[in-house]
């Protein structure tokens, strides 16, 4: 009995160490990305300290900036989760951008026709409609992967272009508000999510996002379906051997992934823009890739990574405005984080030195 306990404790310790080890790698990867970024800033003739302090100040400097950081975090939670869900079944869904456009568009249109419903039915309903639209967009690459093996990275990228074009077409043809800007009319008051801080556009959507994190976490940890999807991602032939229909699981995971990416669009329409506008996204779908990679495809990891990239997105604007440093630095850091996190051996080598 004593030996059993001892073994148990050792096992727990190794587990904790393993957990810790991963965070150390991720942290080093972020640090390294900022380091490479600072070399670039310096070589371009800017002050590194000025750049990074403007970045930090813009993201966390005061309450308003903080609310803007959280506002930018919300869509990244959804798109990051979407990429993570795809990864769980071994698929790389970079179609988050297109799925988000579909979700945003569907939600914006649905609110027009369903505005007669009471708020407590209307809001969940239009969220689900947005999710389903994203889900339909995720289904196509999932189905093609399962049926034909067509690489999902290429097909999801193509679906992004098609999604952005098709929403733009439908908007211009049927739903465009009078005026020079290609946008729908404002959605009814009842479908708008209430603000947490006045004039901040930070809304209840943050709770919806956290709620979805919890659901997805439970889904993968506690449900049979979630477990099956992960088994397919870890070892497809073993899963098949165990009697899991891997094709079905891949299609399902792409649909769930698309659903969550669709919610990114829905919450932007309901919380931030209050309408659908063409080209509204500053690339939330693509930043979601960095979020998922950094968050190690774990729902709570995604939350922290989303806050980091939400802060960068927000701080980047201040940096460009006040320190006159191009905010594309943020994109560079994103790319570097993805590369460094993807290459733990590099980090291991660096840490050993």
């Amino acid at each position: 009995m004593k030996r059993f306990w001892k073994q148990g404790i050792e096992f727990e310790m190794i587990k904790i160490f393993k957990k810790y080890e991963n965070s150390i790698y991720s942290f080093t990867a972020i640090l390294l990305a900022f380091l490479v970024g600072s070399i670039l800033i310096h070589l371009s003739g800017f002050s590194v300290i000025k750049a990074y302090s403007a970045l930090f100040d813009g993201a966390f400097g005061n309450v308003f900036n903080l609310t803007q950081t959280l506002m930018n975090t919300i869509p990244l939670i959804f798109t990051g989760l979407a990429v993570a869900i795809g990864f769980k079944s071994g698929l790389f869904n970079i179609g988050g951008e297109g799925q988000m456009y579909l979700g945003a568009f569907a939600t914006a249109i649905a609110t027009i026709y369903l505005s007669f419903l009471p708020v407590y039915i209307l809001i969940p309903l239009v969220l689900i409609i947005g999710g389903l639209a994203g889900s339909a967009w995720g289904f196509v690459p999932g189905y093609l992967k399962a049926k034909t093996g067509a690489h999902e990275v290429v097909t999801t990228i193509m679906m992004n272009y098609i999604g952005i074009l098709i929403t733009s077409y439908l908007l211009l043809k049927y739903f465009k508000e009078e005026g020079p800007i290609p946008q729908t009319a404002l959605i009814p008051e009842s479908a708008r999510l209430p603000e947490l801080v006045e004039y901040s556009r930070l809304t209840w959507a943050i709770f919806i996002a956290v709620f979805v994190i919890i659901i997805i976490d439970i889904f993968f940890k506690r449900t049979e379906l979630g477990y099956k999807i992960q088994t397919v991602g870890e070892n497809r032939s073993a899963a098949e051997y165990a009697g899991i229909n891997s094709n079905k699981m891949m299609v399902l995971s792409m649909m769930i992934s698309g659903f969550v990416a669709g919610l990114a669009g829905s919450t932007i329409v309901m919380g931030v823009l209050h309408r659908f506008i063409t080209n509204f996204s500053p690339g939330y779908g693509f930043t979601g890739i960095a979020v998922a990679v950094l968050g190690k495809n774990k729902p709570w990891g995604v939350l922290f990574a989303a806050i980091l990239f939400g802060a960068l997105q927000t701080g980047g604007i201040t940096m460009q405005l006040f320190a006159k440093i191009p905010m594309d630095l943020i994109v560079i850091i994103q790319g570097l984080v993805i590369l460094f996190v993807a290459a733990p051996i590099l980090i291991k080598k660096l840490l050993r030195k």
């Binding site: 290429v154 994109v331 994103q334 993807a342």
Partner: protein, 312 residues
């Protein structure tokens, strides 16, 4: 209807398609070399973009577009090497590293464009590549129209298509390369210099993308603009698959994509009753259909995407 048919079979559409196909062909053959060496290359997109930027930079600094091409080749080779370092030495997941590289290069090129030329949209105008007219060929009726007068990179492309097919299927190096892509362990056991071959093919892949990128910026236009590659790298990867991991096939597939793109542009000009957004979708939908169709009948190199530790 007759108008559409006229556009479909118009010699100008075929000739425009050659021009549009150039960056796709270069990148697709880059994809062939890297995937034949066992490395999934989604970085083609970032490599194309880098080439486009470096080409304009070279021409901007020296006012000589041919130096621009040289810059693009060197930048492509460098990025190819970096990608090889990450995917081979650091054992990064190929797909994740490729997408990371693309995002990084999008950031870096947009950043440098603002530092150098102060604008986030487009660079300044630089000297582009001039057309070269081939004397006798250009006077032959149809062939002249198709092949008679292009800039140098178009002719380089045709040479590369044939040259790379010969390398891949008719030389000992090509044979070794294909063995590496099928089974790294077996290649290693056979005494093939595995790493050297993989690095060489990825650097070559980068060089080709550099050339394709230079064509985008110096050949088609005289400037660089943000995210100029606009998904062509991903299309090129699809063309590589549709072409059966073969340079000739990759050329055919790229030409098909380019042809639909040319058609799409000409149809927009016709003022048909079909909305432009729908017409613009055609190449993307075709890419998806072609990729799905191609995957049913062809088989990728068996060792694609795998990591292998060698003791050498």
């Amino acid at each position: 209807m007759q108008e559409i048919l006229e556009v479909i079979f118009n010699i100008n559409t075929f000739s425009a398609a050659i021009r549009i196909s150039v960056p796709l062909v270069f990148a697709a053959i880059g994809g062939v070399f890297s995937e034949r060496a066992g490395i999934i290359n989604l970085g083609l997109e970032g490599m194309l973009l880098t080439g486009a930027f470096a080409g304009v930079l070279g021409s901007y600094l020296t006012s000589n577009p041919y130096i621009g091409i040289l810059f693009a080749i060197m930048a492509g080779a460098f990025i190819g090497f970096i990608f090889a370092l990450f995917t081979i030495k650091f054992e990064a997941n190929h797909v994740v590293a490729g997408v990371g590289l693309n995002i990084l290069m999008l950031g870096i090129t947009t950043w440098l464009m603002q530092i150098l030329w102060g604008s986030r949209g487009t660079s300044v105008n630089v000297t582009g590549l001039g057309e070269i007219t081939i004397p006798i060929l250009s006077s032959i009726p149809i062939l002249g129209k198709l092949f008679g007068s292009h800039n140098i990179l178009v002719y380089v492309m045709f040479i590369i298509v044939i040259f790379s097919w010969i390398i891949l299927f008719k030389t000992p190096f090509g044979l070794r390369l294909r063995v590496v892509g099928e089974n790294q362990e077996a290649a290693d056991t056979l005494g093939i210099k595995l790493r050297k071959i993989q690095y060489t093919s990825l650097i070559f892949s980068g060089v080709l993308c550099g050339l394709g990128g230079a064509y985008l910026s110096l050949g088609q236009l005289n400037w660089f603009s943000m995210n100029m590659s606009a998904g062509r790298g991903y299309m090129a990867l699809a063309a590589n698959i549709f072409g059966g991991w073969n340079p000739l096939g990759a050329f055919g597939a790229s030409y098909l994509f380019a042809y639909t793109d040319a058609l799409q542009m000409r149809m927009q000009a016709l003022n048909l009753n079909v909305p432009n957004e729908i017409i613009q979708m055609i190449p993307y939908i075709l890419t998806i259909l072609v990729l799905a169709g191609a995957m049913i009948r062809s088989r990728p190199p068996a060792g694609l995407g795998k990591h292998y530790k060698t003791n050498r």
